[in-house]
Amino acid sequence: MFKSNGEEDFNDYNGGQEDTVIGSSIKIEGDLKSNGSIVIEGEVSGTVATEQDLRIGDRSKVVADVTANNASISGTVQGNVKVKGKLSLSSNAHVDGDIEAADLEINSGAVFNGKCSMTEIQKVENKDSNLTEEKEGEGEEE
């Protein structure tokens, strides 16, 4: 009875400590924050912030500033997107706002209107303590 037969009742997503799944049947208003990964398939207005990964599905509409570790966008985002790691825009993505990421992938067909800022990660070796430090450099492209 408790064995999975492979059918999924909800979207598959990468596991985090507390995964949040916002389906297409609801609307969120306010500041959506989570310690785990977030999957958005519905409507969100306000802000979205997570320490983990964010996935915005192709049926979703997000009117919010977005902050995440890594993000994958397939729907509509009206707001600024700030990602520490990789940001991927699929061919169905539509982003109106500024984006900031260390690693950026924009697929053919994606629509992006805004400024793009890339954060560079440089490793500096410290001979005494053998620690690596990260320096952030910014380059702007329009």
Binding site: S4, G23, S25, I26, D31
Partner: protein
């Protein structure tokens, strides 16, 4: 000393042999106690309150999931330990605790391995499984931390779940493991309807989990008073304040319980 409570449906003659097997096994294991059959005239809450005053600390329920769910609130408020002897159909909760049949149940009671579970709390009432709303869902607004969740008309069910187990044909997804009754969280589950067209069969309707949000607190408000069902048996009205009560319920469980139950 244990207090054994037999649910009303066990008065049916078809359960006589099973009840005899239970009593024989309990005698063999020398687990003494007082046995009481529920009737329409006797309230379960009053019976348990009275027995607790007489010094009972363990209540063994003979019945099914509904028997267990009905007792959770009064057992928690009286701080008694619960055990289950599953009889008849609809025993998902006992099965998830590793209790498969009456003989195994009696052995588990004798072994007395006690597990603590979180409970959900809705207003002043404790629940084990979930609180469900099915009517006028688009008129609800659910508050969590600094944001509101607004269900759309296509939602068919809003539930806040503490202990999740599959219903009927719904498959148990391994990812739901982390939404257990020991994670100090309750989960908001919103379901929609999915209609499948099949050339050979008629349209199949199935409810799917569309939204999952974990928290330790939710508020459910509405424009008017809407009914909410607690553990499929008690009905209360909105507004609802739902929170988690950590490790509130003690249950005697078996070794073969679900892997995510510690």
């Amino acid at each position: 000393m244990h207090y054994y409570v037999y649910d009303t449906f066990l008065n049916d003659k078809k359960y006589e042999r099973v009840l005899d097997r239970i009593k024989t096994r309990l005698l063999d294991l020398e687990i003494q106690g007082k046995h009481e059959k529920l009737t329409l005239l006797k309230s379960l809450d009053e019976l348990i309150n009275d027995e607790v005053k007489r010094g009972t600390s363990t209540v063994i329920l003979v019945g099914n999931d509904k028997t267990f769910q009905k007792v959770v609130d009064v057992a928690t408020k009286n701080k008694v330990t619960l055990g289950i002897i599953p009889v008849g159909p609809d025993n998902n909760i006992a099965e998830s605790f590793g209790i498969s049949d009456v003989e195994t149940a009696c052995d588990i009671i004798a072994a007395r391995k006690i597990i603590s579970f979180d409970l959900g709390k809705v207003n002043d009432f404790y629940f084990f499984s979930d609180v469900k709303l099915v009517k006028n869902l688009s008129r609800l607004n659910i508050v969590k931390d600094s944001y509101k969740i607004l269900p759309k008309p296509e939602c068919v069910e809003v539930s806040v779940s503490n202990f999740y187990f599959p219903r009927g044909e719904e498959p148990y997804n391994s990812k739901m493991n982390k939404y257990s009754a020991q994670d100090n969280k309750i989960e908001l589950l919103i379901r929609t309807e999915k209609k499948k067209k099949n050339w050979f069969k008629k349209k199949q309707e199935k409810t799917l989990i569309d939204t999952i949000i974990s928290s330790d607190y939710f508020e459910i408000n509405s424009f008017e008073y809407l009914p909410a069902t607690i553990d499929d048996y008690k009905v209360i009205k909105t507004p609802l304040k739902l929170s988690i009560a950590k490790e509130k319920l003690k249950v005697i469980a078996g070794k073969n319980r679900l892997s995510h139950i510690e």
